[in-house]
Every structure is written in structure tokens, then in C-alpha cells.
């Protein structure tokens, strides 16, 4: 890849009068030696998988394997459709879709890691709801995924996309930044505006710890995906309105790395701190362990908080 930072990415787009998405497609072709058609076809398959996960999560609410979560996507979708959601119908639809994909993930269903499974709801939530709202063809969203991927590539190589390394800011935070930047570009914003969206979004998740109850990608991961989709929409709007990330986005990514390194082990996906170690978090963990010991791995009775 010819870029390692967001600044370099914007400069390349400017000097070659292209978009982040199109530049990423070219770079991918060079890196893998595959044809442009092959690369786009692979991404198109991933987008179909994301859409299927949204549909499955909304239409067939399933409990997670643990029984701790499930059905919230349907609740929010109904509220968005029939009520008067405070965040507006579009934002709450994005939220419902993000919850849906995360619930499918928690039930060991099929998803695409974007950039991880713990954060797999945010990009589909933003993309699929925006597609419906603006009437975009699939091709536009597939291109948008390359833009999201380019942003994620920079974050992953200069910081982290692993909760075990950098906390939830590295997973949910990265996904929000990727979704926000891609949405800006899909809505006609410049590469520069897209990069500002990344910085604006990441600032709001710096320091977010990874503290899954019982170590499961459920509590609080699923709701963080729902809320993350709304954050991405908001950051994209700020950037499209002309708000700039005064601290350059590359420097914000650097902060994510240093905050992640300073984060205690308890808050990096070990389930030894945070929400996982609240009285209720510990109680749920103990109930699941007891069930595991009793050998009934397939959950029959849901664990009651």
C-alpha cells in the first residue's frame, strides 16, 4: 500500500483526483495481484452477507447461545417504525440494524468482521439503513466498504483493532470511525472531510474499555454497536457540515494506541474488570459457569439477571 497514514491517503487522493474508495481498490489490486473484478466481487459477497445478517436479526430474533441477550433489535425496529424516536427514524433504524447484526453474531450466526466480530454491527447498520434511505445501488455501498477498509487499514497498522490489545476503543471505536468516514464519502464529501469524520468519531470513544460480562461478546458489546451506528451518523454529519478535527485524525489514532497501552489488563477483554466485575456481571458469570460445569452447554433455560 502506498499510504500508511490518513494524511498520506488524502494527499494521494488529491494528487490523483480520485476518491478514497477508488484508490483503495487500485491498491488492493496491486497488493494481491487479483483483478479489479475479483476484488470487487469479494467485497460484494461480504456486503450481501451483511445484508442477510441485518435481515435475519430483524426478522428472526434469536437468543444468544448464553441466553443473556436477544430481541433488542426487533424492539428498536418496532419503536422506530411506529413510535416517534427521539433520535429520529433514520438514526434509530441504523441502530436497530446494528443491534440485529450483533445479535446474529452472538448466536454464532454468520457475519463479516468489520473490522472485528465484536464491532460487526456498526458498518452494516450505517450502510444498509443509508442504502434504504437514499436509494443507493449495491455498487455504491460496495465501493463505500473499500473506503471504510482504507480507514481501518490505517487504524489497524498505527494503533489496533483488537479489544485484547487496545480495549473497546480499538473495536467499536475503529468501526465508528470507518463507518463515519465512508458515509461522508458516499454522500459526496471530500476525502479530507471523510478524514475529519474519522478523527471526530474516534475522539468520542478514546478510553473505551473492553469489559464483556462473562467474556461474552454480548453485554455491553451489542448495545455499543447500536449506539455506535448513531455516533457514526453524527460524526459524518459534523464533517459534512464543515466541522474539522482540530487534532489531526492521525494524531487521534496515535492517542488511541497510547491509551490502549496504558489500559490495565482488567479492561482489555479479560472480563476481569469493568461491567464484567459488577455484582450483576459476576452473578451472571457464575450462573453460566455453573451451567457449563453441569455439562448442559446448549442453553435450555435462560440465565436471569
Amino acid at each position: 500500500m502506498r499510504f500508511q497514514t490518513l494524511r498520506q491517503l488524502v494527499e494521494l487522493c488529491r494528487s490523483e483526483s480520485t476518491t478514497v474508495a477508488r484508490l483503495m481498490i487500485e491498491e488492493q489490486v496491486k497488493e494481491t495481484g487479483e483483478t479489479r473484478e475479483q476484488v470487487i466481487r469479494q467485497m460484494a459477497e461480504y456486503y450481501q452477507t451483511m445484508k442477510e445478517a441485518v435481515r435475519r436479526g430483524i426478522e428472526q430474533p434469536t437468543a444468544s447461545r448464553s441466553g443473556l441477550t436477544g430481541g433488542d433489535a426487533g424492539r428498536v425496529a418496532s419503536f422506530a417504525a411506529s413510535g416517534d424516536p427521539s433520535s429520529g427514524r433514520e438514526a434509530s433504524t441504523a441502530m436497530a440494524y446494528a443491534l440485529a447484526v450483533s445479535e446474529v453474531n452472538a448466536s454464532m450466526g454468520r457475519v463479516v468482521a468489520t473490522p472485528t466480530a465484536g464491532s460487526c454491527g456498526i458498518i452494516p447498520g450505517v450502510f444498509v439503513s443509508s442504502q434504504e434511505r437514499f436509494g443507493w445501488p449495491d455498487e455504491k455501498l460496495v465501493e463505500g466498504l473499500f473506503c471504510a477498509g482504507a480507514i481501518g487499514y490505517v487504524i489497524a497498522n498505527n494503533s489496533s483493532i483488537s479489544g485484547a490489545e487496545g480495549g473497546c476503543q480499538a473495536e467499536v471505536g475503529s468501526a465508528i470511525g470507518m463507518a463515519a468516514g465512508a458515509l461522508v464519502e458516499m454522500r459526496g464529501g471530500s476525502p479530507e472531510q471523510a478524514m475529519h469524520a474519522v478523527g471526530l468519531a474516534l475522539k468520542n470513544t478514546l478510553g473505551l474499555i473492553c469489559d464483556p460480562v462473562a467474556g461474552l461478546v454480548e453485554i455491553p458489546c451489542i448495545v455499543r454497536n447500536g449506539l455506535g451506528a448513531v455516533n457514526a451518523l453524527a460524526a459524518a454529519d459534523m464533517a459534512l457540515a464543515g466541522v474539522r478535527s482540530v487534532i489531526p485524525s492521525d494524531e487521534v489514532i496515535g492517542v488511541m494506541l497510547s491509551v490502549g497501552r496504558a489500559m490495565p489488563r482488567e479492561h482489555r477483554e479479560t472480563a476481569l474488570g469493568g461491567l464484567a466485575q459488577t455484582p450483576t456481571g459476576r452473578k451472571l458469570t457464575e450462573q453460566l459457569r455453573a451451567r457449563k460445569r453441569s455439562g448442559s452447554d446448549e442453553q435450555k433455560e435462560p440465565v436471569q439477571p
Binding site: 500500500m1 483503495m24 488492493q28 497488493e31 494481491t32 495481484g33 476484488v39 469479494q42 467485497m43 459477497e45 461480504y46 452477507t49 444468544s64 447461545r65 448464553s66 453474531n105 452472538a106 448466536s107 454464532m108 450466526g109 454468520r110 457475519v111 463479516v112 468482521a113 468489520t114 473490522p115 472485528t116 466480530a117 465484536g118 460487526c120 458498518i123 466498504l145 473499500f146 471504510a148 477498509g149 482504507a150 481501518g152 487499514y153 489497524a156 497498522n157 483493532i161 483488537s162 479489544g163 485484547a164 490489545e165 473495536e171 470507518m178 464483556p212 462473562a214 467474556g215 461474552l216 461478546v217 454480548e218 489488563r265 482489555r268 477483554e269 479479560t270 472480563a271 476481569l272 457449563k292
Partner: protein, 227 residues
């Protein structure tokens, strides 16, 4: 660069719930399986740090077992793989370990089948991507993102030239390469990550080279058979 292209960020398609603890774990298991070269009869899995603390909640055990049966990351059989392993007579033990590990999500896998043995130390670094730190006791560094040629050989002058000559004559470009040896003139291992899957016959040619003890191909891009 730890992450090399766009599909290490968007992707893989996978069964949930965790790209690091499920998809990455499938891949580490698959590397071990392919290094062994056949279905294992017995497996011992040591889990470190976050893997040790949270493996049961993430289905890391199911994922590694799936990898040992050569399943891909999105194989729908993963949730029920332990029954399948049992029916195939594969005995797997999972042991959380408090030892030091190269990364918070690390696993060491030991496999046995007849007189064959394989050992892999791997880490799951996020988004389903992995780093292999050791193969059969040799320190290596590879991602398994590309087809990998793993060669055990003696530490002799010119051996690398003769290996790379075979690879070059097969028309395969080398992306990354790593060599480790136990000592001068001792046993050595070379790992070659290739830009494309090698043509038929290349592996055989390498096995026939003087001073080569064994050679295997590990290719996680290959789709395994689905039931």
C-alpha cells in the same frame, strides 16, 4: 505492516461471536492441522491470557476444534464441532495457562496422529488475523494470509538457494521468508509465504532436495470440504 490489505480489515466472513477468539482461533487450529498433515488423533491446547480467561464464553474451544478438522472461519458446523470431533475419535483437551505468551490472545496447540507430531504457537491479533510465532519448536513469524511452505532441513550452505530455485522455477513469487535454526549445522526451518498457491509437483521436488527432512504446505485460503 501487520495488516496487509483491505480484506484483513473487512472480513473474514465468519460464524460469531468473536473475530479474535473465534475466527482467529479457527485459523490457528487450521495451521496446526495442516502442519500435521492429517487429521489428529489427540490434541492438547494451552490457552494464554485473554484466551485463557474468556475462551469458554467465546467458543474459542469450538473454533480451535473446528480448525483441527480443517473447517474455514464461516463453517456452519463450528457450533457443534465437539460432537463431531468426539465421533471421529479426536480427543481434545483445553488447558488455561498462566504462563507468559507473546500476545494477550495466544494458544499453543500440540497434535498427535500415529507417530506424527506437530506443535504451533499462535496469536490472534484482531479481526480474525493471526500471527504464528513458532512451528514445531522453531521461532518463526508469519501471518498465514498467504499459502505457506514450511520446510524442515539441515543447516547447510546453499540449501536456501536450492529451495528458492525450485520455487522460482515453479513460477511462484516469494512474499515473505523466515529462517530459524537450532544451531550451526543443526536442524533448521524455513517458512516461505508465497503470492500464489504452488503448482502440483513443487512440494515433491522440495522434499527430494538433499538435506530437506520434510516439507508441508499450509494454505488457509483453500476451502475445506463442507458437509
Amino acid at each position: 505492516m501487520r495488516f496487509k490489505h483491505v480484506f484483513t480489515i473487512i472480513g473474514p466472513a465468519m460464524v460469531g461471536p468473536s473475530s479474535s477468539h473465534t475466527a482467529g482461533a479457527v485459523r490457528i487450529g487450521r495451521v496446526a492441522r495442516q502442519l500435521l498433515g492429517c487429521r489428529p488423533e489427540k490434541a492438547r491446547v494451552l490457552l494464554y491470557e485473554s484466551f485463557a480467561e474468556t475462551y469458554w464464553g467465546h467458543g474459542t474451544d469450538l473454533a480451535i476444534a473446528g480448525g483441527l478438522l480443517d473447517y474455514d472461519t464461516d463453517d456452519p458446523r463450528i457450533p457443534h464441532v465437539l460432537e463431531e470431533a468426539r465421533s471421529l475419535g479426536l480427543e481434545i483437551t483445553f488447558e488455561p495457562s498462566s504462563g507468559a505468551a507473546p500476545h494477550p490472545n495466544s494458544a499453543k496447540i500440540e497434535l498427535w496422529a500415529g507417530d506424527r507430531y506437530a506443535e504451533v504457537l499462535g496469536a490472534s491479533i484482531g479481526g480474525g488475523n493471526i500471527e504464528i510465532h513458532s512451528l514445531n519448536g522453531f521461532d518463526v513469524s508469519c501471518s498465514a494470509q498467504y499459502p505457506m511452505l514450511v520446510i524442515k532441513h539441515s543447516d547447510r550452505t546453499g540449501i536456501l538457494a536450492s529451495i528458492t530455485k525450485v520455487v522460482s522455477e515453479a513460477g511462484v513469487n516469494i512474499g515473505f521468508m523466515d529462517v530459524d535454526r537450532k544451531g550451526r549445522q543443526g536442524e533448521a526451518m524455513t517458512v516461505i509465504e508465497m503470492d500464489s498457491a504452488p503448482p502440483e509437483g513443487m512440494l515433491e521436488s522440495i522434499r527430494l532436495l538433499p538435506d530437506v527432512a520434510d516439507a508441508t504446505i499450509i494454505d488457509l485460503a483453500q476451502r475445506s470440504g463442507r458437509a
